[in-house]
Amino acid sequence: MINKHATPQEITTFLDKTLFNIKKPGRYIGGEFNQIIKDWNSISVKIALAFPDVYEIGFSNLGLNILYEEINREPNFLAERCFSVWTDMEQSMRSSGIPLYSLETKRPISEFDVLGISLPYETLYTNTLNMLDLSGIPVYQKQRRETDPLVIAGGHATFNPVPMSAFMDAFVIGDGETIFVKILQIVSEGLSREKTLEKMSTLESVYVPSFYDLKKYFLLPENSRNPITKNIVAQLPPAPEKPLVPNIETTHNRIAVEVMRGCSHGCRFCQAGFITRPVRERPVNEILAFLHNAIHQTGYDEISLVSLSISDYSAIQELVSRISSAYKSLNINLSLPSLRIESFSDELMQEIDQRKGNFTLAPESASESMRHSINKPISEEALLETASFIFQKGWTSIKLYFLIGLPGETIDDVQHIVDLCKKVKAVGMKLIGGRARIAVSINTFIPKCHTPFQWAAMDSVEDVAQKHRILREGLQKTGIRLSYPSIDTSLLEGWLSRADGASSDVIYTAWEKGACFDAWQDQMDLNLWKEAFEEKGIDPFSYSHRQRSPDEDLPWDFIDTGVSKTYIKEEYQKSLDGLLTSDCRFNCHACGIQSTYHILCRDLIGGQNGSN
């Protein structure tokens, strides 16, 4: 039995005695530089912020860090952090009755008023259930009592909140900034659980599932609002002033600054592109001021500019050159996530540090018809030109990202990927000989909610296997490194991402059977999920592989992303017709964002606020 009222002292003693025999014990200790510890007894509302994967992964999550600082800035609130514990630690904790605790003050999670969970992807669902259980908090929302924390989830996966509705007291849809503080203000009124949730549900972007008929999963009670509109901050709030610095190596050991939120390209496969609209840019001067402070606050030696499509940032050239002139002499590196192929400029490339040796490009598809279908038109000439440019500038290694399993894809389209990779390799060989390295990373396309492909069927297991074979055989003995996720991994993501309310019990059953760390290819066991679906009498392929009619009611229709369903439908039709939609930065296509939020997109970009 978990002792959910263990004292911080008991938990500390447990850690002292246990961590010596635990793998990577630095995950469980907290104490990082810039950690915030407030006086527990003088604070009215306490929230534990959780990321349901191991410390190294969760630590680097930007959203968590933003909320951590935003909430702690409020004098009456405090936020501490917790992450999933690895299996060896979980075993030790359970056998000693030690509950999940916060890293800052080693307090049981159940003593917090709110547990805020970040759900960026579906394969964290079972970890979430496990965290609740390890905290001694009833896993089903209906079974919680007055003294249990309110469990609230947010993040990209919650744009279809229905599968996790049975486990969450509330969901926050959209940007987390400003709204969490509003929620905590409601909690601080000290009302009953029911009254608190009722009041929270009056916020536009908060979904409280207990007020809905979950069996019918998207039918709303008479008095409720329909739909629930995602939260946006029209202007990006200041980036964290004192980013946490880990004591152990994490996925990203660097200063991350979000330079832009949203993307204007409208690639039809990309969920982030549709749910994070509108595009909002942070002014150059604000970014530079942030970096100046953050380097001093953290001591990191690497800067990463975060955005969905960094080269779209209006003042990218100015930004990059000002960063490199300021920090190159200090041995501080600048890293950019993958650049769009058409956006290369000589000047930009000059500024980027060459120490890394690896350059990432994401053409996604290799044939004309697929490029039109997904609305990412990049010509072969442009790609090869870019590749030769990259090799000439001193890089020796290029990583290429492609998608397979797109609607309407043929075997020929996959063969084109093979041919294109070989051509890139040939360019490299010609320019720098055997030093040229090409790595190809293939992802299986998974249709996601709120995108034009939300009605589409996922590619069949047989077809995906055949396409893998074509790629494997085609790239054999070429020296090109090929990687792709297992079919099982893609299936699970496909099953969960467009599931309905009936899937809650399946998630619970799979977890009960031992499913956990489903995002880890070596931990995920699809058989547990198959059994769980079967026991609950649900065909998982009806979620993933069923072509839906555009007139069908979808479980996530009550979530309004600001982009109209009519627009998404048009985009789907254009995809079938092979028609492109241009970058909306230059030509508005009336997706609905401007009218939903009463904003003008053009006001939010272009380095407003005096810079540029």
């Binding site: 961590l19 152990i248 190596e249 001093h296 001591g299």
Partner: protein, 209 residues
């Protein structure tokens, strides 16, 4: 371009939970702390420049240290020296510097001059585990203490032990050189090291003038 370099010896303690960070982690922690403190370390030349730092002897994961020794090479010194207060506010909890001394650049590396290392072993839980009181007797009686390491290699702990005694229910043990490890000793005598806090009290250096 020739930089004027300075070398300093930092004596610091590593306590509490940060003891569960590895030597590689600690390296990064120091590097970042110096950058926060505005102290410019020298970097090695070449494709992957490395900050110039040298730990006397890596402290095993999970051990506390009362008086660890780190040499750093600094360029562009502001003033003549570095003050303790210049760095301590920039350290994560559990690390604290208590002495900084300038060192001649020509002095050879620290590792070569370790004469002996003093450790203490104390129980975490007041309920003493059964083997603890007999450890000193066991050690004294043993002819050899052949411990098999993770990599399968054996080493004899017995000749490395300079002294072992008990004080206020804490065992104090001194090993010659750097290779003897108290956790190995405990394991050899069937005692789980996780029941103890092991602290390296001091590293003794051969006087090399």
């Amino acid at each position: 371009m020739d930089q004027i370099e300075h070398r300093f010896r930092l004596n610091y303690s590593k306590h509490s939970f940060i003891r569960f960070t590895s030597i590689l982690d600690i390296q990064k922690i120091w590097e970042r702390a110096f950058r926060r403190a505005g102290i410019k370390l020298s970097y090695s030349k070449g494709f992957h420049p490395q900050a110039k730092m040298q730990q006397a002897s890596p402290l095993p994961l999970g051990f506390c240290g009362d008086d660890e020794v780190l040499d750093i090479w600094v360029e562009e010194l502001q003033g003549n020296t570095i003050e303790i207060e210049q760095i301590n506010p920039y350290l994560p909890s559990g690390l604290e510097i208590h002495q900084i001394t300038p060192v001649d650049l020509s002095m050879p590396s620290l590792q070569q001059f370790i004469e002996s290392s003093d450790y203490s072993i104390s129980v975490i839980d007041p309920i003493a585990p059964n083997t603890f009181p007999t450890l000193i007797d066991d050690v004294n009686k043993a002819e050899q203490i052949l411990f098999t390491k993770h990599n399968g290699k054996k080493y004899d702990l017995k000749p490395l032990i300079k002294s072992i005694n008990e004080e206020n229910s804490t065992i104090l043990i001194s090993f010659s050189g750097i290779s003897g490890r108290p956790d190995h000793l405990l394991q050899y005598f069937d005692s789980d090291p996780s029941n103890f806090i092991i602290t390296r009290k001091k590293i003794h250096f051969i006087d090399h003038g």
